[in-house]
C-alpha cells in the first residue's frame, strides 16, 4: 500500500481524493484543507483523517506521496517543502505561477530522485495519445502548421471574484484553460520556444483574460496558432482540440474523435490512404474506477505505479510542466 496525503480539496482535489479512495493500492492517510466547509464534510462522512495544517499532516500521517491541489500561488512553497521531506509529489496544473518559481523544484526533484508529476490529464486521453503515436511515427510527414484550441462556458457573465479571477494567483483563461492546450502542443509536437504575437482578451472578467489568441513557434521551428476562450457558452463543457498539417497528411483530433488524412499508403496498421476516423471508445483502456473520464483515474494510477517503481517517471514530469509554464510566460510577454 502506498500512503497518500492530499492538500486541497476544491474541484480537482475532491475528484483526486475520490479516485485515490477507490484505488486498491492506495491508503489515504490524510486530507488537508483550510476550508472548514469542505473538510468538515469529509470528516463527517468519509473514513479519511483530516488536517488543517499540512505540515502537521506530514508529521503525523507520514505519507509516501502527496497530491497538491491548492490554488497555483501556493504550489511552489508546498512542493518545495514536500521534496525537502522526501515525499513524492503529484501537483495540479499549472505547475507554478512562473518559470522562475518552478526551475529550482525541477532540479530538486531530480536531485532527490523523487517521483514528480503534474495533472495535465489530456496526455492520458486515448485520442491524443494516438495523435502522438502518428506524429512520432512520421506518418503525416513533416508537420508545418498546427492549431490548438479549447473552448468552454466557464465565465459567461460578469460575476463575483475568486482566486481564479486574480492574475497574481494563477487565475485567468491563459493559466487555467489554455495551459492544457499549450502542454498538449509541447508534448505532441515540440516545446514552444518563441511567441510572435498574443492577444489576451477580457470578455466578462475585470482583472483577467477570458480568451487567448497567440502565434507560436516551436523548438523545431514549426509554427502555429493557439485559440482558447472560456467564455463560449455554445460549448456544454471544455472542448480541447488540436489539428496538425504535415507534408504527407493532416490530423484533427479532440478528446472524443480523431480524424486523420494520409496522402499515401504509408500509414499505421489499421489505417488507409485518405480520411480515417477513430473514436476514444476504441482507444481508451478500461480503468478500475471511473469518475468524470478515464484519464483522471489513469493519471493517478500512473503516479502510483511510478511510486511503486513499476513505470518510469516520464509522462507529465515537473520538467515538462515547467516547459508549459515557460510557454505561458512567453505568451504573456508578447501581448499586443
Amino acid at each position: 500500500m502506498i500512503k497518500v496525503g492530499i492538500i486541497g480539496i476544491g474541484k480537482m482535489g475532491i475528484s483526486h481524493l475520490a479516485i485515490l479512495g477507490a484505488h486498491p493500492d492506495v491508503k489515504v492517510v490524510g486530507v488537508c484543507d483550510t476550508s472548514k466547509m469542505m473538510l468538515d464534510a469529509i470528516e463527517k462522512y468519509s473514513p479519511f483523517p483530516c488536517f488543517t495544517d499540512y505540515k502537521k499532516m506530514l508529521e503525523e500521517a507520514k505519507p509516501d506521496a502527496v497530491v497538491v491541489a491548492v490554488p497555483t500561488k501556493y504550489h511552489a512553497a508546498i512542493v518545495e517543502e514536500l521534496l525537502k521531506r522526501d515525499v513524492h509529489v503529484f501537483a495540479e496544473k499549472p505547475f507554478c505561477l512562473n518559470p522562475e518559481q518552478g526551475a529550482p523544484l525541477v532540479a530538486l526533484a531530480k536531485q532527490k530522485s523523487l517521483v514528480n508529476q503534474v495533472g495535465y490529464h489530456n496526455k492520458f486521453v486515448g485520442t491524443f495519445q494516438e495523435v502522438k503515436r502518428i506524429i512520432d511515427g512520421g506518418f503525416i510527414g513533416e508537420p508545418y502548421h498546427f492549431l490548438g484550441q479549447a473552448y468552454g462556458p466557464v465565465v459567461i457573465k460578469a460575476k463575483q471574484d475568486t482566486w481564479r479571477s486574480n492574475p497574481e494567483e494563477g487565475g485567468g483563461c491563459l493559466m487555467d484553460y489554455a495551459s492544457h492546450v499549450i502542454d498538449l502542443i509541447n508534448y505532441i509536437l515540440a516545446p514552444i520556444t518563441d511567441v510572435k504575437a498574443t492577444m489576451l482578451k477580457s470578455i466578462f472578467s475585470k482583472e483577467v483574460d477570458d480568451a487567448v489568441f497567440s502565434m507560436l513557434e516551436l523548438s523545431n521551428k514549426v509554427t502555429g496558432i493557439l485559440s482558447v476562450n472560456w467564455s463560449d457558452e455554445t460549448y456544454r463543457k471544455m472542448s480541447t482540440s488540436i489539428s496538425i498539417n504535415g507534408k504527407k497528411g493532416k490530423i484533427v483530433s479532440d478528446a472524443n474523435e480523431l480524424k486523420v488524412f494520409f496522402k499515401d499508403d504509408e500509414c499505421p496498421a489499421g489505417y488507409s490512404k485518405g480520411w480515417n476516423i477513430r473514436h476514444v471508445t476504441d482507444l481508451t483502456p478500461e480503468v478500475d474506477y471511473y469518475l468524470r473520464g478515464e484519464e483522471y483515474s489513469a493519471q493517478l494510477d500512473y503516479f502510483i505505479k511510478t511510486v511503486q517503481g513499476k513505470v518510469p517517471n516520464s509522462i507529465n514530469s515537473f520538467e515538462s510542466a515547467w516547459l508549459t509554464d515557460r510557454a505561458i510566460s512567453l505568451i504573456r510577454k508578447e501581448q499586443r
Binding site: 475532491i14 479516485i19 466557464v154 465565465v155 479571477s165 476514444v280 471508445t281
Partner: protein
C-alpha cells in the same frame, strides 16, 4: 419499470464520440417543440418513460406535459439529478462554497430559515435535501416514480466512502416524493457491493452495459458475473457504446444478459428510435425461450 426507457442526451448535445455531432444536436433541438416531437416518436413505439437530467429546459417540457394531461396520462419521467455541468462550471468560477451559495434555494443567511441554518450548522444532509427539492420543483404534478442520482455524484460519493449520503438520498426520495431512488454509475459492481452492505435491498442501478466493454469499470466479465449472481434492478445504458458496436449486435448482446430490467437509449430520429425499439422487441423473446 418499463422495458424501454427513453433518454435525453441527444436533446442536450451530449455525445460521447463527436463534438461535431454535439453541435448538430444542439442546433436540431433548439426549439422545445423538436424535443416534444421526438418524444412523440418514442411514444408511437410504446415508450412511456422519459429518463432525463434536471436541465433547465426540461422545465419547459414538463409544462407542456402538464398542459396536455390526456395525451400524457400514462407518461412518466425519471429525473436524474443534478445536471452536473451547471454546477461543475460554476465551481470552476465560484469555488465550492460560492456554488452552494448560488444554488441552494433562498438566501443562505437571510429569508430562508431552513437553508441559512443548514449552511451555518453544516448540516450537509439538510443541504442535500434542499438541493433535491430545488431540482424537483419542475416536476410538480408529473409522475416521477424513480428519481436518480447522476453518476458523477454517485461515483464521487462512492470513491469518498460517503455511503451515508447515498443512503440518505435513498431515504429522502422515498419519504418526500414517494419514489424509489435510482443510482447511475460507471462503477456498478463496486456500487452494488457498497449499497448491499449499507442494507439497501434490490437497488435500482443504471450503468453502462455494452458488448464493447465501454465504461464498464472493472471489466465486462465482472459486470456479467454481477448480473448473474447479485440481486438488483439493472438498467443498461450506453448499450451502443457510442457507436462502437452495430445496433443489432449491441441489442442482441444486452437482451441475452440475465437480470436486466430496463434498457435506456436515446435517439434523435424517428427511424433510429423505431429501429432500436424493434430490435429490443425482436431479441427479447429469444431470451425467454
Amino acid at each position: 419499470m418499463e422495458r424501454i426507457l427513453f433518454g435525453d442526451n441527444q436533446f442536450f448535445a451530449v455525445n460521447h464520440i463527436s463534438d461535431e455531432k454535439s453541435m448538430a444536436q444542439s442546433i436540431k433541438f433548439k426549439e422545445d417543440s423538436a424535443i416534444i416531437k421526438t418524444l412523440d416518436y418514442a411514444m408511437e413505439d410504446g415508450i412511456q418513460t422519459f429518463m432525463c437530467t434536471t436541465h433547465d429546459r426540461i422545465a419547459n417540457i414538463c409544462e407542456i406535459i402538464r398542459n396536455n394531461p390526456q395525451k400524457y396520462k400514462d407518461f412518466k419521467i425519471f429525473p436524474c439529478m443534478p445536471y452536473a455541468h451547471k454546477y461543475a462550471n460554476a465551481v470552476t468560477e465560484l469555488g465550492i462554497t460560492g456554488t452552494l451559495k448560488q444554488y441552494v434555494p433562498g438566501n443562505f443567511f437571510g429569508s430562508l430559515f431552513k437553508g441559512g441554518v443548514a449552511f451555518l450548522s453544516k448540516d450537509y444532509l439538510k443541504i442535500m435535501e434542499l438541493l433535491i427539492d430545488a431540482e424537483m420543483k419542475m416536476f410538480k404534478d408529473i409522475k416521477t416514480p424513480v428519481i436518480f442520482l447522476q453518476n458523477v455524484i454517485t461515483d464521487m460519493l462512492l470513491g469518498l466512502g460517503m455511503t451515508d449520503v447515498l443512503v440518505a438520498f435513498h431515504q429522502y426520495v422515498e419519504k418526500k416524493y414517494d419514489a424509489e431512488a435510482g443510482f447511475i454509475t460507471m462503477n456498478m459492481p463496486k456500487l452494488l457491493a457498497v449499497l448491499e452492505k449499507a442494507g439497501i435491498e434490490n437497488p435500482i442501478i443504471c450503468s453502462s452495459i455494452n458488448k464493447a466493454g465501454f465504461r464498464m469499470s472493472g471489466g465486462k466479465a465482472l459486470y456479467e458475473e454481477t448480473l448473474r449472481t447479485k440481486k438488483f434492478r439493472a438498467i443498461a445504458m450506453q448499450v451502443l457504446a457510442g457507436g462502437a458496436v452495430s445496433p443489432k449486435e449491441a441489442i442482441e448482446y444486452v437482451c441475452q444478459l440475465p437480470n436486466i430490467e430496463s434498457i435506456l437509449f436515446g435517439a434523435s430520429s424517428r427511424t433510429n428510435i423505431h429501429e432500436t425499439a424493434s430490435l429490443i422487441h425482436q431479441f427479447d423473446p429469444v431470451k425467454q425461450h
